[in-house]
């Protein structure tokens, strides 16, 4: 029974999100110690020191020695410490109880574990092991993601595990795998400084990865030209050298057009293409169908800007291109990412100092979380769950029969479709709030309601966990240790600052407790994250994402280790594809991770978006983040000063559009798509394409941008198409009900 036990408003009143105070400690508080660790939010994973007193985090101190951010932090990092000691923190297990006013009653932890195990066993006995699904998250440490993948396959024996990186990293990952055979940013960010040109494709760096801004500005100080491709004039786009105001969903066409101009003008490295790549001819043939006039027509970018982009990129001696969700959140996401890779490969500038290609990961462990087995088709070390050799190796590490290892499962959204279809009846989720974060989320809600049994592990009662039969109190990032892999591919160490409060447990313990209660403790008797990491090192050995030479000590000593790191004496690999470099796939044949050692050009075809603009829905809707909020807001909507910064979602629209529709700045407006409608205040700004509206997605319910978005997915990566769909906008009839009932952050 996974319907809401009582009215959502009653749950909200009891469990929040409520706001933390602005600051926590008093001026007289002397921290007992400073714990060097990293921010719990985005994939930049800035180094930070937490001030600890009386087993509570009471503040922060910049960590200026950590090389990536050298003390720099965004407002989320500055205020992240306020999530501990929060009144909404779950301190006991909760059981769904409609007879209680707030819908949940607390229960002893052990009894909750027993009950969860009983229900899982019941469902699996009745409907088979695949009737239980697992959803993980990319904010978990690599140890936890590894354990969760193992838990699903070994303990639950279900193929159905996936994670919220599905909404984040998968387009880039799939494209990287197709083009390079390895999925990682090629170069450390320091390679950006000193480069000739930086291309920012669909990344609102200033708000989503603020620390990267300084790298871009620093590069510009040293002479780099900056190109930004975005439908909105973001803070970096405001002063960049060349702004490409692309119409949402048309990125592949732009890349094809630029490559065509590069080919026409001879701005490509024919020698490199010839020697070290395959597939260029097909790409060139496709690009030939994209003369610049057609590109301008389709993308909405002026012809002269496209030409300038091709020239800047083409003639540069060194270059750095990175992209983020802006081009990846599309049903054409993999093609878009491949389009950028084609530009990079054609330039021949890869594996060189001051040059690079990368994708900005969104979540804390967006990189590490996708490498070691919580992805539905993957086993640790970026191994393929369908590859017999890979299966055999992992089965041997896990000490099970290869035949007992389930095959590939389905992506997170498909998993909900299976719930909806009644195939999956039980769900275990951790670190995932799909009711806010998945597209067309009213479908997600309906699917959740069909579950027979749902157990959620979390530290706050997030919007999805409200549907749970059982909520197990998990751990905040600062309550556990482990590793994560940040945007550059640098494996870093999260250090424990405080103990879990109340009956809350470290997530890996909860998973192991479940395994034990299920009577299948085999392989789940680790006594520390370090022990899990040691097994992970073995499991990843020989894989593409080889962590076998990484140890906690080496991470601390080197302030991070770039994978692959195949042996104890290996320093790690900050820059991939350096000339002369080798890898376990090419085995000396070349620097790319294919048997022939050559990189792949892939035809990156433009396909119109699903549910594109139409007469009925004439506006582009695009969604994204604001700097003060993070993902579904489970943490950041509870941190007072961050909420104050941007309390509620607003609809950004251009004054020309506003005038046409009769919508004033600050007035209520209703945005509507084929999925639903939401009413928010309008924010009239000249910094967005007049044919596009933007809504940030961090809020639930009637404020949720994902009520509007379409559940179309990329055929390869299965990433949802958050960044474009047809929409219409009108002045609202009046203020929505939530305006009176709820606080801004709720």
């Amino acid at each position: 029974m996974a319907t809401l036990p009582v009215d959502d408003l009653a749950i909200t009143r009891a469990f929040g999100p409520h706001l933390s105070p602005r600051t926590l400690s008093r001026a007289s508080d002397e921290p007992e110690r400073l714990v060097k660790t990293h921010c719990c939010f985005c994939g930049q994973q800035c180094g930070i020191q937490l001030k600890v007193k009386n087993d509570a985090v009471i503040g922060f101190e910049p960590w200026e020695d950590f090389p990536f951010n050298r003390g720099m932090l965004c407002p989320k990092g500055v205020k992240r410490y306020l999530q501990g000691s929060h009144p909404d923190r779950l301190l006991t297990a909760l059981a769904r109880d409609p007879s209680v006013e707030n819908g949940f009653r607390s229960m002893p932890y052990d009894a909750a574990i027993e009950r969860a195990a009983r229900e899982i066993r019941r469902i699996q006995d009745l409907h088979g092991p695949a009737a239980v699904g697992v959803l993980g998250g990319a904010s978990l440490t690599t140890e936890k993601t590894y354990l969760l993948g193992k838990f699903a396959r070994v303990c639950l024996k279900t193929p159905y595990i996936d994670y919220n990186g599905r909404l984040c990293m998968v387009s880039a990952g799939a494209a990287n795998k197709k083009a390079f055979g390895i999925d990682r940013t090629t170069s450390p960010w320091s390679d950006m400084v000193g480069t000739d040109v930086i291309w920012v494709a669909g990344s609102n760096v200033a708000e989503c990865s603020p620390i990267t801004t300084n790298y871009i500005w620093q590069a510009r100080e040293l002479g780099a030209k900056v190109i930004v491709q975005d439908p909105r004039i973001t803070p970096v786009a405001r002063t960049c050298d060349l702004y490409l105001p692309v119409r949402p969903g048309r990125d592949a066409a732009l890349f094809a057009g630029v490559l065509q101009l590069m080919i026409e003008n001879g701005w490509i490295d024919r020698d490199f293409i010839e020697r070290e790549t395959v597939g260029f001819e097909a790409v060139a043939a496709y690009c030939a169908t994209w003369p610049v006039a057609r590109v301008a027509e389709v993308t909405g970018v002026p012809e002269r800007s496209i030409r300038k982009a091709a020239e800047l990129w083409g003639i540069a001696k060194s270059s750095f291109l990175f992209h983020a969700r802006g081009i990846e959140h599309h049903s054409n996401g993999v093609q878009n990412a491949l389009g950028t890779i084609n530009l990079v490969l054609a330039s021949g500038r890869i594996g060189k100092p001051k040059s690079g290609y990368g994708t900005i990961v969104g979540q804390a462990n967006g990189q590490g979380g996708r490498e070691h087995g919580q992805k539905c088709d993957q086993l640790p070390g970026w191994r393929d769950i369908s590859n017999p050799d890979h299966r055999k190796y992992i089965a041997s590490v896990w000490n099970i029969k290869e035949a007992d290892l389930p095959g590939p499962g389905v992506d997170a959204y498909e998993l909900f479709r299976k719930i909806d279809a009644g195939e999956i009846k039980g769900l275990i989720s951790i670190c995932f709030n799909p009711k806010v974060s998945l597209p067309d989320n009213q479908f997600v809600t309906r699917a959740l309601e069909k579950l027979e049994f749902y157990v959620a592990i979390d530290f706050f009662l997030n919007d999805t966990a409200r549907h749970a039969d059982l909520v197990l109190p998990g751990s905040l990032q600062e309550e556990d240790e482990g590793t994560v892999t940040q945007v550059e591919g640098r494996v870093i160490k999260i250090n424990k600052a405080v103990d879990c409060p109340g009956e809350a447990r470290q997530d890996w313990r909860i998973i192991q407790d479940l395994a034990k209660a299920l009577g299948r403790p085999h392989g789940f008797t680790f006594d520390s994250p370090r022990a899990i990491f040691d097994e992970l090192r073995v499991a990843s050995k020989g894989g593409v994402a080889d962590y076998s030479g990484i140890s906690y000590e080496k991470i601390e000593r080197q302030m991070g280790v770039f994978w692959p790191c195949p042996s104890d004496d290996h320093p790690g690999t900050p820059r991939l594809f350096e000339p002369g470099s080798d890898n376990p796939v090419a085995k000396g044949k070349g620097r790319f991770y294919f048997p022939d050692g050559k990189a792949r050009f892939n035809v990156a075809e433009y396909r119109p978006a699903v549910d594109d603009v139409s007469e009925e829905y004439p506006l582009f809707l695009t969604t994204g983040r604001v700097v003060s909020q993070f993902l579904s807001g489970t943490q950041t909507r509870r941190i007072g000063p961050l909420v104050k910064h941007y309390p509620e979602p607003r609809i950004e629209l251009h004054p020309r559009l506003a005038e046409k529709l009769g919508i004033a700045d600050g007035a209520w407006a209703t945005a509507e798509t084929r999925r639903g409608a939401i009413t928010l205040r309008a924010m009239v700004v000249t910094t967005i394409r007049p044919d596009t509206i933007f809504i940030p997605y961090h809020w639930p319910g009637d404020k949720s941008a994902n009520r509007l978005t379409v559940a179309a997915q990329d055929p390869i990566s299965k990433i949802p198409q958050y960044k474009v769909c047809g929409c219409r906008l009108r002045p609202a009839d009046g203020p929505p009900a939530y305006a009176k009932e709820r606080e801004a952050q709720q």
Binding site: R22, T23, R26, A27, F60, P62, E64, N69, G71, M72, L73, C74, P75, G77, V78, A206, E207, P210, T213, N214, W217, Q218, R220, E221, L222, G223, K225, I233, T234, P235, R238, T239, C240, D241, L242, Y243, P245, G300, P302, R304, S305, K308, L312, V627, S628, P641, H645, H654, P655, R656, K660, D665, M683, V684, V685, T686, T687, R689, P690, D691
Partner: protein, 218 residues
């Protein structure tokens, strides 16, 4: 305890991305817990995402101190203009409206003016100010002249500002372009009638595009 003379504050508002990390970090300070002393504002959000961070510039001849009837604002020997002395400040607000940079703030309930003191608690013991430490765009930078000139070859610091006929020199520097010719001073009052353009191309490479969306049909 004083701020070493070779360490200086360098501000480059053109780098600012408006993230408010500085504001939030500032509220953590023990001398004014919970209240930010740095200003960070959109200049005109409707027109542009341009933001400007404003710290106390620490004038050589501080207008705020001169117009203070209570003699509550003092400039210490290291050139730092300190926040109002609490026993003296009578919360009249003269400093608030007189400061040419718009820095001081009045807290009426507590009858006190507070302003940025360059993180005296940190800078006087050899640390960087909190805002300049966390600033992700390094629009706020704290270090030596040698460091800034190595980091920013296209920029140079200036500390001279014009407000009408008044020239003000400050301890805090603002970064200005080195080319074509670095201005001797920044004329703040010349920006009187300006509205921020949505795009502010720093080094035009395509040519003038004041409105990149001019051709988009609604």
């Amino acid at each position: 305890m004083s701020v070493p003379q070779h360490l200086e504050f360098f501000v480059d508002p053109s780098r600012c991305i408006g993230c408010r990390a500085c504001v939030e970090a500032c509220t953590e300070c023990d001398t004014h817990r919970g209240e930010p002393m740095i200003h960070l504002e959109y200049i005109d959000r409707g027109a542009s995402v341009q933001t400007v961070p404003v710290v106390c510039m620490h004038c050589e001849q501080p207008t705020c101190a001169e117009v203070c009837p209570a003699d509550a604002i003092k400039r210490t020997g290291d050139g730092v203009v300190q926040s109002a002395r609490k026993p003296r400040c009578i919360a009249c607000g003269n400093c608030v409206v007189a400061c040419p940079f718009g820095v001081p703030e009045l807290y009426i309930d507590r009858a006190i003016m507070m302003k940025c003191d360059m993180c005296y608690d940190r800078t006087s013991v050899g640390k960087k100010p909190m805002c300049a430490t966390v600033c992700p765009s390094q629009a706020l930078y704290f270090g030596t002249r040698e460091q800034i000139s190595a980091l920013r070859p296209q920029s140079m610091p200036t500390n001279t500002f014009r407000f009408g006929d008044q020239v003000i020199r400050t301890r805090v520097n603002v970064m200005v372009p080195r080319r074509p010719a670095a201005p001797a001073q920044i004329d703040v009052t010349a920006a009187m009638d300006e509205r921020p353009p949505s795009r502010a191309v720093r080094l035009p490479v395509v040519g003038d595009d004041p409105d990149p969306f001019a051709e988009v049909e609604v």
